[in-house]
Symmetry: C2
Subunit: 369 residues, 2 copies
């Protein structure tokens, strides 16, 4: 219990063994399926954790900002996709990166292509992926907007510094359904749409384009990736309560938990209050029986944390406070001044807020920020 005795404030615990198991499982699946694995590093945002991937044989990565690309480039990663529509206000940074690494950028408009093409004319060049909206409705050219796809693709072909690599999507709507059947149905629908988009370009002589997809729910659950060339899951390294409740992972696969000091007990409403709020966990939530849960609750154990207490969840968050509802029987197991471990609703946002991890072995690991 030495690990816990030193914890005095909200601290993000990382169970390295669980994370490495999650990584090995995903890697061997991608390997069996003979598909390129380009994991998204926005979840962990740490060069140190990146080394776990590197020693497992990963050499191409995905990030979500220019800053993150710079951070991982400095740590020796040399094949990086920035999976976010190119930010034209960061042309200087993009230009520098394009000289340092094999850089892939996303575009979804002729305007963006022309700006990139002109600005990078004298550079070694970058790979370009057209961001396609395969149903998530966030960003990208519509998969069935054949004329627009063709315009963007042909614009890319006009610039010597831009190499058209393929079509990329984030099927973010797989996060909105639950269970293997629905998730894989949604995934395969988006893969079919991506292939339809690819065919519509091939009809105009734009051939040999690749398809990049990948999100944690589908990459974890679906047996057959379909006609795609690359997957880019990120969250799977830690998973979280959203993934657990969607049936994507087991509770024991979740590799991070926020250790929170208990500051008050309210037996009359069977609640406790912890030091651990919106600035630690984030206000993202998962629905438990229609009620927002900002996390599930475990007790510290010698080897880390135990299974989630049945019926217990973080029902409210303010800036520093977390209010946890639990079963009356469990209230006695918790003391003011003690700790509980909260499995976060959305681990990517919790990591972003906490900015460092403490492994169960007591090692401090920092992130980009």
């Amino acid at each position: 219990m030495d690990l816990f005795s030193k914890i005095i404030k909200p601290t993000l615990l990382l169970d390295r063994d669980k994370a490495v198991r999650n990584l090995d499982r995903m890697l061997s699946k991608a390997d069996t399926q003979k598909i390129r694995f380009r994991p998204h590093f926005k979840t962990h945002q740490s060069t140190e954790i990146g080394e776990w991937f590197r020693s497992a044989g990963v050499n191409a990565i995905t990030v979500s900002s220019v800053e993150m690309a710079q951070y991982f480039a400095a740590a020796g990663w040399d094949d990086i996709t920035i999976a976010f529509p190119a930010n034209l206000r960061q042309m200087d940074e993009i230009r520098t990166l394009s000289r340092q690494v094999k850089l892939s950028l996303l575009v979804e408009s002729v305007e963006a292509v022309e700006k990139l093409g002109n600005e990078l004319a004298a550079e070694p060049g970058v790979d370009i992926w057209i961001k396609v909206d395969a149903g998530a409705g966030r960003t990208g050219v519509g998969w069935d907007a054949a004329a627009e796809l063709k315009q963007v693709a042909e614009a890319v072909e006009r610039f010597s510094g831009l190499r058209l690599r393929g079509l990329l999507t984030h099927a973010g709507h797989t996060y909105k359904v639950r269970g293997k059947t629905e998730i894989c149905r949604t995934y395969h629908e988006s893969v079919d749409r991506m292939n339809a988009a690819r065919r519509s370009l091939a009809d105009h002589g734009l051939v040999n384009l690749e398809i990049s997809v990948g999100d944690t729910p589908a990459s974890t659950l679906c047996d057959d990736p379909g006609e795609v060339d690359e997957i880019r899951p990120g969250n799977f390294i830690f998973y979280d309560v959203q993934q657990y409740l969607a049936g994507v992972c087991r509770a024991e696969d979740i590799a991070v938990a926020l250790a929170c000091p208990v500051v008050a007990k309210h037996p009359e409403r069977s609640e406790i209050v912890v030091y651990g709020g919106a600035i630690h966990l984030s206000k993202d939530y998962a629905l438990v029986d229609g009620v927002p849960a900002y996390g599930l609750v475990c007790l510290p154990e010698n080897t880390g944390w135990g299974a989630p207490l049945p019926g217990a969840f973080v029902r409210g968050l303010s800036q520093e406070h977390g209010v946890i509802r639990l079963r009356p029987d469990d209230l006695d197991k918790i003391q003011i001044g003690g700790l509980v471990c909260v499995l976060p609703a959305h681990s990517c946002l919790t990591v972003q807020l906490m900015r460092s991890y403490l492994t169960l072995e007591g090692q401090r690991i920092h992130t980009l920020n």
Copy 2:
């Protein structure tokens, strides 16, 4: 427009004039009402902005964590209330602080009182406020739990290092109603309850106790503070969309806005996508016609930002993406590669995520983190 030309990624703009006007208004109100003003610094979290308060005559402050108390103590603040139930795992830090400043702590259980009393026995002592739940249902002893209040108060009196100062509440439920009438009704109900709690203690000889209240909605709107000794609003320095939509402030009082690069336009659904997501704004929201809005949207102007575009709001956030819906007419005013300014739903959380401000004069101001 020189300010905007240098902005390449999400940047939290601060309109100092607006913030100082918000401060002056609140100060002169507290002054007229002859009430002690102990502003909450968790909103701005910056020693530099703290100096604006100091030059306006403020000398006592509220914070929400031991870390924040240390940070402001190091900047010369010597009268600090940590408005969060005392975290018994930080006794060493609390002990050190109690030697440096006039420190006020919150308790709400006999257990916490006894631990503090024993640990601080050899120290100069701290002021103790009993945290009372006057209806918000988050934390504190129930205002009508007379026996429990008496137990906690008498426990404080047993320790020489603990000075019982009074009863403190955060009427957080004023954030859940809208409009002056409802907000002030809720506020006065909680003040009445605090006074009932004070009388119940006076009946047992526990006299001369003060009452500390204060939240931005009531402190802004209510003409009469009632029978209280101290107010502790924090958010008012910047306000935000939650306060604006609740009728607490005007849109033009909001003193911070997140400048976000535009990365995509989707005329077919009258939406744009910006670089500015959950890791910049936070997932907190305000309801606009029952729909979650993570922010309202303004255009950059020479002097800062303009009025919110009618009908425009941030409808969705993922890690780095913000999806903004706006009226088709306004779409033409916005270019890929340009900027929009987003008024945050909840400025405290946006500040916590951004960790620095850029004033309209181009000055960079950092926060605690």
